[in-house]
């Protein structure tokens, strides 16, 4: 068996070429691969296509996010469920670059995004969904009626690499997530040619995780990196609440 353990984050992502398509797990702080993102900022690959729930930068304190790659001019396109802040009065770091035309963006409803990734991992090239029917997003899209209801065609979204974060792993790459850390992690693992996971607890010998309790099986996981304790490793921070409007 190939050894999946990598000595550090830089080693785990060293081969990522210019033009790669990369998916980043995480919803808010939980399950976000902060350490792998920080390593990619240093690594230098360019012309990237990045998939994540948001472009980042909406929460304080700011942790590594894909917006940092956009700000460095390294991104061709993002595919996200948010390309603007949830509060209209907020401006994301991404926005300036998007409005200047420096980066392209595809805005995708969150459930459609998750299902497109899942479909890619499940060998399903496309599917129909009722989400976004009658909206601007439906323009120019294939429509079809089933049982009298209208649906839109959506295509699977396969990626070259997925960046993941999990509470626990064994050396085979079997993963367990804690609470809402799971979010996009399992479907992005499935959608990727190479899935790279940063792991919080000491990586366990194979056979230590009960097979019934594995959330993502190791066959989807190719590389593992142990997260060092802070300040060397990056860990979720308590969010700073903003004053109410």
């Amino acid at each position: 068996m190939t050894d999946k353990l990598r000595p550090d984050f830089a080693a785990a992502i060293a081969d990522i070429p210019d033009g790669a398509t990369i998916a980043f797990a995480g919803f808010g702080m939980p399950g976000t691969p902060f350490n792998l993102i920080a390593a990619l900022v240093e690594q230098g690959a360019r012309n990237l296509t990045l998939i994540a729930n948001t472009t980042g930068g909406a929460q304080q304190p700011r942790m590594p996010d894909i917006g940092m790659l956009v700000e460095r001019g390294r991104v061709r396109k993002v595919i996200c469920a948010f390309t603007a802040a949830t509060r209209a009065s907020d401006v994301l770091p991404f926005t300036k670059h998007y409005e200047a035309g420096e980066v392209a963006a595809e805005l995708v409803p969150q459930g459609t995004l998750a299902e497109r990734l899942r479909a890619a991992g499940a060998g399903i090239p496309a599917f129909y969904t009722p989400t976004a029917v009658g909206t601007e997003l439906a323009e120019g899209r294939e429509r079809r009626f089933f049982n009298g209801r209208e649906y839109l065609l959506e295509h699977a979204l396969a990626v070259d690499y997925a960046f993941l974060r999990a509470r626990r792993a064994d050396a085979f790459g079997n993963l367990q997530f804690h609470r809402s850390q799971r979010n996009f992690n399992p479907v992005m693992a499935m959608a990727a040619r190479i899935a790279i996971a940063e792991i919080e607890e000491p990586i366990l010998p194979p056979g230590t995780i009960d097979p019934d309790a594995v959330h993502t099986p190791g066959i989807f996981i190719h590389r593992l990196v142990q997260i060092p304790p802070p300040p060397l490793g990056l860990w979720p921070q308590k969010r700073q609440e903003r004053a109410p409007r």
Binding site: Y98, V108, T129
Partner: protein, 214 residues
């Protein structure tokens, strides 16, 4: 946050919405004002709160110092879990939504039309938008309730004949709680369910961009 002007406070708007929750419903609360619904005591009825990031059965916000930083609701707040809670991944969470298991989704909105269309993901001048899970929820939940201000800060109506902003979904909204009252879009206008204390009908009518019906 006390409101000196007549009408409902934000919390009272959330109370009007939560009063409609039926025992056993699976409820999805959007970011912002809708999260106030989970503060409302609706006993003896019980509902299960679902969050789009895969948390089923969450409870109140965690007390300071007791947060689990890996447990958030849709708004990124550190919540707690109630007995019987479960966590699933994103595709399963949206299978729950798309599969029609959500009894009601409560959202904020910029505009709602008399025909039940609503807009909450993009403002006119913006290039980007924030859809999140709103389009999935709006298209697939059994009911869509809105909690929103009745008018913009400059006084323009948010309850209108037709939405000017890009819509999130069409013909889905069944109830709207605003600072001026509770209304139902019924096609030819908005039917008044309740006016907030101190709000005369003509004030509500003047602030509404479509016909008000009794």
């Amino acid at each position: 946050m006390s409101d000196p002007t007549p009408g409902f406070t934000r919390q009272q708007m959330a109370e009007r919405i939560a009063a409609r929750f039926e025992d056993g419903w699976i409820v999805n609360l959007g970011v912002g004002m809708p999260t106030l619904c989970s503060n409302v005591d609706i006993a003896p009825r019980r509902v299960i709160y679902h969050s789009e990031n895969g948390v089923i059965g969450y409870g109140p916000i965690a007390p300071a110092g007791e947060e689990d930083l890996d447990l958030v609701n849709a708004g990124g707040q550190n919540v707690t879990l109630l007995a019987g809670a479960a966590v699933v991944h994103h595709a399963d969470s949206f299978a729950i939504i798309r599969g029609g298991r959500i009894d009601v989704t409560v959202m904020g909105a910029y505009e709602v039309s008399a025909g039940g269309d609503f807009a909450n993901w993009k403002i006119g001048r913006a290039k980007g938008g924030g859809i999140g899970g709103a389009m999935d929820l709006a298209a697939c939940a059994k009911r869509v309730f809105l909690v929103m201000e009745h008018a913009t800060r400059s006084g323009a109506p948010r309850l209108v004949g037709r939405c000017a902003l890009p819509v999130t979904a069409r013909k889905v909204v069944s109830l709207v709680a605003t600072n001026l009252g509770v209304f139902a879009p019924v096609g030819e206008g908005f039917r008044i369910h309740e006016l907030a204390p101190g709000v005369p009908r003509e004030v509500a009518a003047a602030a509404t961009g479509a016909k008000l019906l009794d």
